[in-house]
Symmetry: C2
Subunit: 182 residues, 2 copies
Amino acid sequence: MLYPNNNKKIYIKNINYANRGMKLESLINDANHYYNTNNIALIYKKPTPITIGSVNYDKNGKVLTKGYFNTKSTLDYVGIYKGKYMDFDAKSTTSKTSFPLNNLQKHQLEHIEKVIKHGGISFLIIEMNNIIYLLKGTDLILFICNNKRKSIPYNYIKDNGFEIKLKYNPVLDYIKIIDKFY
Amino acid sequence: MLYPNNNKKIYIKNINYANRGMKLESLINDANHYYNTNNIALIYKKPTPITIGSVNYDKNGKVLTKGYFNTKSTLDYVGIYKGKYMDFDAKSTTSKTSFPLNNLQKHQLEHIEKVIKHGGISFLIIEMNNIIYLLKGTDLILFICNNKRKSIPYNYIKDNGFEIKLKYNPVLDYIKIIDKFY
């Protein structure tokens, strides 16, 4: 049935992008939970590396009373998919024109290179302009080797990355993209 | 030249096994460092999962002032070798006759099973009777499925595990054993 004015109205919910980073992380965690419970893959968030300073005991057991954050964390997610080692990170940027490379630390780039060298799968999930892309580690490294820029132009991500189209359950089914090229 | 009494004496240094667990861990860390710097494999110790309670800032930056130890840590080591995902743990026991299974938690066993199911490599490095063995995850699971015992007899480990003979650089070259059966 058509509406009186002959227009089918489609309402799209406004999404609050204030906490984009958190939102992206929770989509990845949901997908990982889905992959894990459905025996598709085993992927988890690496714990934040913390150097233990002092420890105390209370009624609930051991409690850390002083801890230092190591800066040398590698990438956020690690896991196994079809026997392959997978290691990746998620980044969100509010910039519309380019992805700032200071989002990545030198030792993180080295880590990506090493994972690739050992035959593993490494990539970034990038949220930019309300679209989520998967950018292969090799394409990231290639850009950095061939450019002196401090950011990756949006066009490079659009042309070389793969859009992860959101769908129902899991919303961010990034492993579908992995199937395409590995 | 022979000794006067015609016996060649061999002196073996006494090793202090008071801190066995620590010693085994440091041998594994040394091996991982060797594999990493020589581009043989990329294997690292997983950070201890800590739930952040409260955080403060001092002159050195962010400091954790309260943290809780999650009990659900999986296995201690993770990494990549020849493209394959590898996930394992190290255990030391002072018992001479059997390896107590309370060394392993239920969710750790489930984790080993999952890694194997997804085509990864999972195993235990066990130090027992001053010998270091590598016991494949499959042989561990098989024992548990077919036995109601609360410990694995030493003979099972001797017969099904692989002795990792100590040598020079790295001392605990456990990847040599991986090459044999994967």
